[in-house]
């Protein structure tokens, strides 16, 4: 029955879809015929001609509405409606081209920036790092419990674990391992990310065709072989080696180790390659002279990726590898290398950053932080478009009223307005694709201008398009809500009579719009001020110690076992040479580098049990440290040359002011005893001033200085000098090189390395500044738009006020006052958004040297002033216009 029915009506349905005009004409003729017959009937009853016609029409009912209802019974009615809506939308867009163009531009900017950054984040964080068969790609993430701190630890694999997994796994048909390492290419003081990788690394990532040369051969990763070969990434090759076409076969130096370039990896895979230079992982001991991780059975250092064998799932692999790791755990504990009762659990992920439990929260936080402000920009764009549409809807209220009077249903009207928004958003969204492609490249080129080993490859996938669709849907709805509401609430009678005054938009709507725009703008301006301030902050701060006249002398020496004698000789010779260099005043060692975050250790008072102490930073320094760094001594004394080191029997320590305040508030710390994490008891002999060496411009927390053992080797070496930095840097480098030509890191004053950091932050600040400028422009345009709209609405009111005796100043003030109230509300709301955002940001950055206060009054204050000033300018013109209202003109239209 159903099928028969369907077959029977099919031609009819098709006809009603395709031959719409014919059906329309048919219907018209049918209805006319009906009315004609009714007129005839009425005439026959003896009515006059005119009476008969009117009576016939009356009994027939609302012709327009009935025709509409009949239309709706035809199949494909909805399609026709959509078509009509679109035609209507296009017509009304063409009628106000400037307004439509503005709306489209605002949305294109808003959506484009947002989608662009999402595309970048998607490529970086959300996708599996391979283009070839991502379904079989896995990353192994171990998590160790039983760590001595009590907390679980996400970490890496030891060389032994890697060997065990590689040789025992059936579920994975290939396993690769890799570790990032910062190394110097040739000479300089900029690190290049070097990847120590197994020789199948490229293959596992699905990269099988080098741009030139070849990738590693498997025998180059034999432990006994230690082949000194390297593959370069295309960006590094272009940037650092000027795209030298004969690079293959040349020898470059990594941390002074000569390696032969055998190939270049193409950049279309480069965003999946985590480094600029690739070397076999067996080269680790040569590159990193401090520690031989390759031979250490107990130090986790390798990250592992792999490919599932066909027919195996990630769960299979997990079960199998957990068994392998359990055996490894038992062996580890039996070896009793440390007190660590290792117990491993594994997570097998698709290889994307977001799935890696180690960085999951960080990535998530970063994405929220980057996309959040962009969502605000989009919201701003939406509220601008909403204002434009709202003013258009109200300008057309006569037309809308007539439509309603003619029998168009309000829901149909809402559909029409929604389609107008949809059309605008759709065009804007399409245009935004252009931007979406440009934005990531622009950002990366600005950010990594100096490094250039980062090229983001954009393969928009379902996530990007899904995100775009969500943005567009949200924009459509947000920008059409208010016009629809205005049309819905339209009072038919007053609108038809043209009594505009009775149907002005409520002032709540306009002040709400202004407040929203100010709030959104405020949050973004806060971000800009925050970041814009950082480079200046870095350059202008006083850390409490000398940075311009203190030179870091980076040396990379293998101090382990059999090389110890050589290392000792090297350091002795170096110290002698440095002290003999003209200009050098003193020389010092420290274990903590300035502007790196050292992890605090637990310091106790003598009767405190382990675990009840308080955290403090421990800096193991040589006796000349305080004079070399120019740190003021407040009380007592500092270490004496020749005083026995802390690891020996001479138990003395110097503490910072903050430490003294924390441990003995109000008491006298001199002569008191503290207990180090290794249970050594130290006597406090001096108090020194606090420095700002951890975060820029922020006083350090409690800090203990211990005396470096005279026999200690390594550590960070600093030289205090007089005179210009440049000649001394050259002299020091020459001194180092004359002793060991393989040393490649150039010395830098602490100030110079800070400058580098500031430069990095400057480019980030530029990006944020550009984005904020766009946002600010939108906010200002929005405020201007809303206010001029509101002023237009109230022209009549102003006119009447003036007739009744209000001066122009009163009108001017009334406009401005109301707007200022909205600004104030907006600022409050903005603060309510900005403060939690700041908190989140702060939590993410706890390990970075950038200072962020919980409530940064400077940032908030500066942003508020800037925003208020700019929006007052935007308000000036509409307010002036209100003031110039001509009462006569107004009353004439009355």
């Amino acid at each position: 029955m159903w099928i028969e029915n369907w077959l029977y009506t099919l031609p009819l349905r098709l006809r009603s879809l395709i031959r719409r005009e014919r059906l329309d004409a048919d219907l018209d003729e049918e209805l006319r015929d009906h009315i004609d017959r009714q007129i005839e009937e009425n005439l026959a009853r003896g009515m006059s001609k005119e009476q008969a016609r009117l009576a016939a029409l009356r009994t027939f009912g609302n012709l327009v509405s009935l025709r509409g209802q009949t239309h709706e019974t035809w199949s494909g009615a909805w399609l026709e409606q959509i078509g009509q809506n679109f035609r209507y939308a296009i017509r009304s867009a063409r009628r106000a081209p400037l307004l439509s163009a503005m709306a489209i531009l605002a949305l294109a900017l808003g959506i484009g920036l947002d989608t662009g950054v999402f595309t970048m984040l998607n490529a970086m964080f959300l996708r599996a790092p391979t283009l070839v068969d991502p379904a079989s790609f896995v990353q192994l993430c171990p998590r160790y419990s039983g760590w001595f701190t009590g907390a679980d630890q996400n970490s890496a694999f030891t060389t032994e674990d890697f060997d065990a997994i590689r040789s025992h796994s059936h579920a994975l048909n290939e396993v690769a391992a890799q570790q990032q390492y910062a190394a110097f290419v040739e000479e300089g003081n900029k690190y290049i990310t070097t990847l120590l990788a197994t020789c199948n690394y490229f293959h596992v990532l699905g990269i099988d065709r080098p741009l030139m040369g070849r990738f590693f051969a498997s025998e180059e990763c034999k432990r006994s072989n230690r082949a000194q070969v390297a593959v370069l990434s295309e960006p590094l090759w272009k940037h650092q080696f000027g795209a030298d076409p004969r690079i293959v076969g040349k020898t470059i130096h990594l941390n002074g180790v000569p390696v032969a370039v055998i190939g270049v990896a193409p950049s279309d895979a480069a965003n999946y390659l985590l480094g600029g230079v690739f070397v076999p992982y067996t080269l680790e001991p040569q590159l990193n002279r401090a520690q031989d991780l390759l031979a250490s059975p107990d130090t986790p250092w390798l990250s592992m990726i792999g490919r599932l064998r066909a027919g195996f799932t990630r769960d299979d692999a997990r079960a199998e590898l957990m068994a392998v790791m359990n055996r490894q755990d038992r062996a580890y504990v039996e070896r009793k290398v440390s007190a660590f009762n290792r117990k491993t659990t594994l997570a097998i992920t698709n290889g994307s950053f977001i799935e890696n439990p180690n960085v999951h929260n960080l990535v998530l936080g970063l994405m929220v932080l980057m996309l959040g402000p962009l969502a605000l920009i989009l919201l701003l764009a939406c509220s601008n478009v909403a204002t434009l549409f709202l003013s258009r809807t109200l300008a057309r209220r006569g037309e809308i009223a007539i439509r309603l009077a003619m029998g168009v249903s309000r829901s149909r009207l809402a559909g029409m307005l929604l389609t107008e928004s949809l059309l605008t958003v759709f065009i804007g969204g399409t245009l935004s694709m252009v931007l979406a492609y440009r934005v990531p490249l622009l950002i990366m080129n600005t950010m990594a201008a100096g490094q250039a080993n980062f090229v983001v490859l954009l393969h928009p996938d379902w996530r990007v398009f899904g995100y775009l669709a969500i943005l567009m849907a949200a924009a459509t709805i947000l920008s059409s809500l208010m016009p629809i509401r205005a049309a819905w609430k339209l009072d038919l009678l007053t609108a038809l009579k043209g009594r505009e005054g009775a149907v002005t938009v409520r002032s709540r709507t306009t002040s709400g719009l202004i407040a929203t725009q100010i709030a959104l703008g405020f949050v973004l301006v806060c971000a800009a001020v925050l970041f814009g301030r950082i480079p200046g902050l870095i350059r202008s701060m006083n850390p409490g110690f000398e940075i311009h006249q203190t030179l870091a002398v980076p040396v990379d020496v293998n101090t382990s076992g059999n090389n110890r004698a050589k290392a000792e000789a090297f350091y002795q010779a170096l110290e002698a040479k440095l002290l003999a260099t003209p200009g050098v005043q003193s020389m010092a060692y420290a274990s903590v580098q300035p502007f790196n975050q050292p992890s605090p250790e637990e310091i106790r008072l003598p009767r405190q049990a382990k675990g009840t102490g308080q955290p403090a930073t421990v800096d193991d320094v040589s006796s000349s440290f305080f004079s070399a760094f120019g740190i003021r001594v407040l009380r007592g004394r500092v270490f004496l040359p020749g005083e026995v080191g802390s690891t020996g029997t001479g138990p003395v320590a110097v503490v910072s002011q903050a430490f003294a305040n924390q441990f003995w508030p109000g008491g006298d710390p001199l002569g008191k005893t503290i207990v180090m994490p290794d249970d050594h008891h130290l006597t406090v002999v001096g108090i020194v001033a606090d420095t700002r060496s951890e975060r820029f411009g922020v006083l350090d927390g409690p800090r203990v200085y211990t005396l470096r053992s005279a026999s200690a080797l390594g550590g960070n070496l600093y030289v205090r000098f007089l005179g210009g930095a440049k000649p001394l840097e050259t002299a020091v480098r020459d001194a180092v090189k004359s002793l060991d030509p393989t040393q490649t890191i150039a010395p830098q004053t602490i100030w110079e390395s800070l400058e580098d950091q500031a430069d990095g932050m400057t480019s980030l600040a530029h990006i944020i500044l550009v984005m904020t400028s766009i946002a600010l422009l939108m906010a200002v345009a929005g405020v201007y738009g809303v206010l001029s709209f509101a002023v237009n609405q109230r022209t009549r009111e102003f006119g009447i006020k003036m007739v009744l005796g209000a001066s122009r100043a009163v009108v001017f003030r009334s406009v401005l006052l109301r707007a200022i109230k909205s600004i104030a509300i907006g600022l409050m709301c903005g603060l309510a958004i900005a403060e939690p955002a700041m908190l989140l940001f702060n939590r993410l950055l706890t390990r970075s040297p950038f200072p962020l206060h919980r409530f940064d009054a400077t940032v908030f204050g500066a942003s508020a002033v800037l925003l208020t000033a700019v929006s007052l300018i935007a308000m000036y013109l509409p307010a002036i216009r209100a003031m110039r209202t001509d009462p006569i003109q107004v009353l004439r239209t009355e």
Binding site: T9, H34, R37, Q38, G61, T73, S75
Partner: protein, 111 residues
């Protein structure tokens, strides 16, 4: 004008089908017939017949055809299809059943 009750309104389709089962008619004639039969119970404007007719046509219960009428005019005549006849029988039976049940209940409450 008081609103016709929903029950009667809902049966408009059924009435139209029943009338068309007797003979093919054009819209105006159908409306006259409806008024004649139902008296003033069915207070709908003439025009509201057309959405109903077009819906029935789309559903395949009735068939429309332009036919010449008197004085060199033509009108759209509606006739019942085979499917429509079957549907009418089924619906009429349904109506019969439910109206018997309802009037039974109503009589009960009056006692």
């Amino acid at each position: 004008m008081s609103k016709p009750s929903d029950l009667i309104q809902g049966t408009l389709d059924l009435l139209v089908l029943k009338i068309l089962a007797l003979e093919p008619l054009h819209g105006w004639a159908l409306s006259q017939r409806l008024k004649q039969i139902s008296g003033d119970v069915l207070q709908v404007s003439d025009g509201s017949l057309y959405p109903a007719l077009h819906k029935l046509e789309q559903q395949g219960w009735i068939h429309a055809e332009w036919r010449p009428t008197e004085n060199n005019r033509r009108a759209k005549f509606y006739s019942l299809t085979r499917l429509g006849r079957r549907y009418l029988e089924k619906e009429a039976a349904n109506w019969e059943r439910s109206s018997t049940a309802i009037s039974g209940v109503l009589r009960l409450t009056e006692v």
